[in-house]
Symmetry: C2
Subunit: 279 residues, 2 copies
């Protein structure tokens, strides 16, 4: 597999991360995941906007001048990823002797990009998935796509061990988002999701859904939903760059809508698929 | 520099971390720092107890059978670190294609140890330091020495840019601990520090101080101290494996005890030094 590493496209086996890389020592980096359909990047401008904003938030410099889009396209091409692929992009604060504060003087960031084939989860889109709920033990800036992800790892593992596809975090009694997805609910034909802010990632797919709702005349509203309100919810789905729109039919041990996928969820899935078909 | 990497002692330049290492991708690892005085490890049993407990907490297996103490001693010896040194130990969940949940089947952990010379901060011990206060934006399990440290990095950098040695975190209005130190205060000849629990690391030096207090008949108590109480505090110091006992003479723009180091702080520094001399 050919990957991009600090200015060059090389075989992945030749990528050597230093033990002094601040990604390895401190989780001190930012990442993005972009979906490619038929070699076309989907919503890359949104992804790179967020990526650059995040780098700025954590003050990682020296990584903003790169033409990431061009590298992504080259990786798709040279790895012969013709259909369904994802791009993984990670930038860390670089290599320096271990000290918590930023290296002084600054060192070049570590820049890594990889493209790989994915297998769309057709059956999960069709049949829906189970989720579990767990207290949100992550840090307080979930709007930043940081690689310091250990609390998410621990939580999603609990999901995996409980036969669930995703864990949805509960903060101050309200359901927020998943470990790597956004979370939407449907009540009285209205889409409800947690408000943007520091507690959740501003998901690109969430933004796409918001646009689709406008086109389809479906009401989209940001609102706090407490766990005690969950039994009154008609439909639920999780959203993500790779996840797309995945129906949720079970929360912990409770079936949603008797395990049947709701009409709004199906409508949005169709609209999303049409959008992709037109790419 | 000779280091330990996955079973071998090799030159550091030959350590190649994979871009698929879960330390690099997810900050999914645990670390420890141990102080060596004259080639003798200080309180290594306490450090390894915590280390093994932490690995268990995050369910990283396959790293518990190693004789870390022996490796540490070999690294000190072979790197000719005769006087003041520190051991850095990091274990990650290993190398696997990027997926949030644990690799299935499990993969061997990545185990890395490094020994390096340190230069004791004699002037700071003597003259004291400034600290700043910031809201605690870290994750909710600060008792675990996780390498997912980006929120700490961002906070300590603010300290560095404000001419301060450390940032002390404020949680729900109470001062808790530093980004890489414990925090103690003295009021009416009594040592006060934040109670053990999920909000702070159970510091080994904190434990040593607790023992020294017992020996010196100084009252040591765990108590919540709000930021508004700080002006009534007589002495403060930060604690850590490398930091040892470092007096604090300034909090933000306010001098503590007119910038003079208090008698209890000096007494504990002396007692600590005697303990080290007897090693």
């Amino acid at each position: 597999m050919l990957v991009y590493f600090n200015g060059k496209i090389i075989d992945k086996s030749n990528v050597h991360i230093s033990p002094d890389d601040r990604g390895f020592l401190f989780g001190d980096g930012i990442y993005e995941v972009i979906r490619a359909y038929r070699k076309k990047l989907f919503r890359s401008a949104d992804h790179f906007d967020r990526f650059f904003r995040n780098l700025e938030e954590v003050k990682i410099g020296g990584a903003q001048h790169i033409n990431y889009e061009k590298i992504c396209e080259e990786l798709l091409e040279r790895n012969n990823l013709l259909q369904d692929a994802k791009l993984y992009i990670q930038v860390t604060r670089g290599v320096a002797p271990r000290k918590h504060s930023f290296p002084m003087p600054a060192v070049p960031p570590t820049i890594y990009l990889e493209a790989s084939q994915i297998f769309p989860p057709l059956d999960l889109w069709q049949n829906g998935v189970k989720i579990i709920l767990r207290p949100d033990q992550r840090h307080q800036r979930c709007d930043i796509k940081s690689i310091s992800l250990q609390p998410s790892v621990i939580a999603i593992q609990e999901a995996a061990e409980n036969g669930a596809e995703e864990v949805i975090f509960v903060k101050d009694g309200y359901v927020t988002e998943g470990s790597h997805t956004s979370f939407c609910m449907v009540k009285n034909n209205q889409i409800i999701t947690y408000p943007l802010g520091k507690s959740i990632l501003p998901g690109i797919t969430r933004k796409v859904i918001q646009e689709l709702c406008l086109e389809q005349a479906i009401d989209f509203t940001e609102q706090y939903v407490s766990t005690s309100e969950l039994p009154t919810i008609n439909e639920m789905f999780i959203l993500g760059t790779i996840t797309e729109i995945m129906p949720v039919i079970q929360v912990e041990n409770t079936m949603i809508n008797h395990g049947k996928i709701g009409t709004i969820t199906r409508k949005l899935q169709q609209a999303f698929r049409s959008k992709i078909a037109q790419l």
